[in-house]
């Protein structure tokens, strides 16, 4: 059987293990709570993590490109980008798939599977950088937007306008 057929067959198991491995990147006591299958509004991190992992897995068993992969990874990376993870820890959950693959797949398929995981990892890293850049930009421009714009509208500041300060793009 081809790799993708085997992945499809074992989808549930992969998703279950990958979700648990991802939640285990949190401190043990938090993982207990975040790993619960509770209401998605009571436990947004757990719910979004589960949904994203499922979506990403569904994507890689079909056809995909880097761009779609990044978009699919967005919800989980967006969360991890603002939590107490360094960059490697933020994307480390992707690599836990390799270990899961080793446990489930036949040796002959491991190399091919690892390549898939590498694709996810690269997309995750791109997404993480984009989220971090967004955060830095929000940090840099927030007070200007709030205070500067109001004063500028009132003609109380005569230096650069907010548009000049931010460039043509708002975010």
């Amino acid at each position: 059987m081809h790799l993708k057929q085997i992945l499809t067959k074992n989808k549930k198991l992969f998703i279950k293990k990958w979700f648990q491995a991802t939640i285990n990147t949190y401190p043990a006591q938090s993982a207990k709570v975040l790993g619960k299958d509770s209401n998605r509004f009571d436990n947004p991190v757990g719910a979004v993590t589960h949904e994203t992992i499922e979506d990403v897995f569904n994507l890689i068993i079909g056809d995909f490109n880097r761009e779609i992969l990044e978009k699919t990874l967005d919800p989980i990376i967006r969360i991890r980008a603002v939590q107490a993870f360094c960059a490697s820890e933020a994307v480390s959950f992707v690599f836990s798939l390799k270990k899961i693959g080793e446990d489930i797949l036949d040796d002959s398929l491991i190399r091919e599977f690892d390549k898939l995981v590498d694709e996810i990892a690269l997309a995750a890293f791109n997404k993480l950088m984009k989220c971090k850049e967004e955060i830095f930009l929000l940090k840099a421009t927030e007070s200007k937007r709030r205070i500067h714009r109001a004063f500028e509208r009132a003609g109380l500041v005569t230096e650069l306008t907010e548009e000049d300060l931010l460039g043509s793009k708002k975010s």
């Binding site: 401190p27 991190v45 603002v82 836990s96 967004e134 955060i135 929000l138 009132a154 975010s171």
Partner: protein, 557 residues
């Protein structure tokens, strides 16, 4: 929850650090033995020495939380010990809250900071345990006996107040927005916000505040508002709003300023005057007051002295809160008004509703508030003499006293974020919704476990809306944003209504990160757009100078 985390686990087995993938991490140490790691992005800068000096608060000096030496007074432990002792004697709630927690864990997964950051020390029970562990060690008989027995401290969940413990206090007490969501779930009714309030008071005794609180407090004390804007600049901003409103409506809404003998004094957070998008809410108030003046000859005056409704003293100490709050009654007395109307703000209302009367009352020179237009008695404001503007406006609408054109807001697909303090601190739940429904065509609630008493905080309240702690704010705001995203995707919601100045400042950034298609509006901005002013021209733009719904199509035809 209680079946998930057992008390002994809470005491013993909390592993603070994120796990590494390599699996090399050693056995988790007890949370009480793990020293705090202060992470950039999660903490706010230290209070400036000048701001602390202005307020005559202790230990003004430059210091940096990332450095080892926090430049504390030599006897800091003694100061804190005495501080705890004083407060235990003075505040019954503090004593009770220190004693009665059984660590059932019901609060553990209810905090937005815990849910967003995944940091177990943000579980409300553990945040409070930071203080309780020291309380048990130093102030309980059991603690005093047990500390003499090997292993006794651990058995009692007690620990001495060391420098590491102090740093942990500082880090986590400024990762709580005092929103009180956890207290809704506590079977004993412990108000964890009060524990944070006490903790911050204690930290202030040795000069450990953050600048986003200390400098606004200092400005407020010296100049009257958070940004330190002087009276003439305050007036300039209001004049500028008059010009903008005239451009949109064709009506000059020049407000009354510092008028003695007016019927009502109006006080709002200065964020409404100086920060977008609160400025549009401010324009909404001005349009409403002009309408009431023209139609019913009601005189509402603004004040350049009481130019701040917010009170960051609340996040400093009860004495500081009292000093800043005093100007409200003082100005009402000087102007000789009948009662006070308050703008859309969050913590301002917890201070007014729960503390003002005790601190600076009784305001027996004011009348029990009655709406002169409808005759409604505002029973909730009987003692404070201060009415929330959404209660006032909802009452006017209910009695058919306002002419509103909802179609001007028909492009706003609304949801409503209950601000923590008005919702949980004073039970103001339905009035803002009533106004929205009368000013807009489309309104969708977020899921029930995220609104009303169960509302999730914006993640930036209680003085934490700084720039340097943006990761903390984005993580803390995640549960709120997650619910906004849901109604955006399900119903096409494009506008988040709110009645708090901090929300209006914090939520646009939060939305931009998590759900960028949603804009943030104050409720009276919607009123300002919908209200038909006597003698107005045909409006084509809203207060943000965006075309009104239908106008672009008309022009195209």
């Amino acid at each position: 929850m209680s079946d998930e985390i057992k008390p002994d686990e809470l005491l013993d087995k909390i592993d603070y650090g994120p796990r590494s993938e390599s699996g090399s991490k050693s056995e988790p140490a007890s949370w009480m033995d793990t020293s705090v790691q202060i992470r950039p992005g999660m903490y706010c800068y230290a209070a400036k020495a000048e701001s602390v000096e202005t307020l005559s608060l202790p230990n003004a000096r430059p210091w940096n939380p990332l450095e080892d030496d926090w430049k504390l007074p030599d006897n800091w432990q003694e100061i804190l010990h005495q501080g705890i002792k004083d407060r235990l004697e003075k505040f019954r709630t503090f004593k009770v809250f220190m004693d009665i927690c059984v660590r059932c864990g019901a609060c553990a997964d209810k905090c937005h900071f815990f849910l967003g950051t995944g940091d177990p020390k943000n579980m409300p029970v553990l945040r409070a345990e930071l203080l309780r562990s020291v309380y048990r060690n130093d102030f309980t008989t059991a603690g005093k006996i047990l500390q003499k027995i090997p292993g006794g401290q651990k058995l009692n969940g007690a620990r001495p107040l060391t420098l590491d413990v102090l740093k942990e206090w500082w880090y986590y007490l400024f990762q709580c927005t005092e929103c009180r969501r956890c207290s809704v779930f506590c079977p004993y009714g412990i108000d964890t916000a009060e524990i944070t309030i006490m903790g911050r008071e204690l930290l202030n005794l040795i000069g450990l505040n953050i600048d986003w609180i200390a400098t606004p407090v200092s400005n407020c004390f010296q100049t009257g508002n958070h940004l330190g804007i002087q009276p003439h600049a305050f007036k300039d901003m209001i004049d500028f709003f008059v010009e903008d409103i005239e451009e949109v409506t064709g009506v000059n809404v020049e407000p009354q300023m510092n008028i003695k003998g007016a019927d009502i004094l109006f006080i709002t957070p200065s964020g409404d005057v100086f920060a977008d998008p609160g400025t549009y809410t401010c324009e909404g108030y001005m349009i409403l007051f002009k309408y009431l003046k023209d139609k019913y000859d009601l005189n509402v005056t603004w004040s350049t002295y009481a130019s701040e409704g917010g009170n960051f003293g609340f996040f400093t100490s009860h004495e500081t809160m009292k000093r800043l709050n005093a100007k409200m009654f003082a100005e009402a007395k000087r102007l000789g008004v009948k009662w006070i109307l308050g703008g859309e703000c969050g913590h301002m209302w917890r201070v007014i509703n729960q503390y003002m009367d005790t601190m600076n009352g009784p305001a027996d020179f004011l009348e029990e508030p009655v709406n002169p237009i409808t005759g409604t008695k505002f029973e909730n404001s009987k003692s404070t003499k201060m009415v929330h503007i959404t209660e006032f406006t909802a009452d006017l609408i209910k009695h058919g006293k306002l002419e509103l054109d909802k179609s001007r807001n028909s492009n706003r697909i609304m949801t409503f974020h209950d601000s923590c303090n008005p919702a949980r601190g004073m039970g103001l739940l339905d009035e803002p919704r009533y106004i929205i429904e009368n000013c807009c065509d489309h309104f969708y609630e977020m899921p029930p476990n995220t609104i009303r008493e169960l509302t999730f905080c914006c993640g930036s309240g209680a003085g934490l809306n700084a720039g340097e702690n943006i990761e903390l704010r984005m993580a803390g705001g995640l549960p709120r944003a997650n619910a906004v995203k849901y109604v955006h995707e399900k119903f096409g919601v494009n506008t988040l209504g709110t009645i708090c100045a901090i929300d209006r400042a914090a939520l646009p950034t939060l939305c931009e990160y998590w759900v960028p298609e949603v804009e943030v509006y104050g409720i009276h901005e919607l009123v300002g757009n919908a209200l038909i002013l006597p003698g107005e021209k045909k409006r084509t733009e809203d207060l943000r100078f965006e075309p009104l719904p239908g106008v672009e199509e008309e022009e195209d035809e």
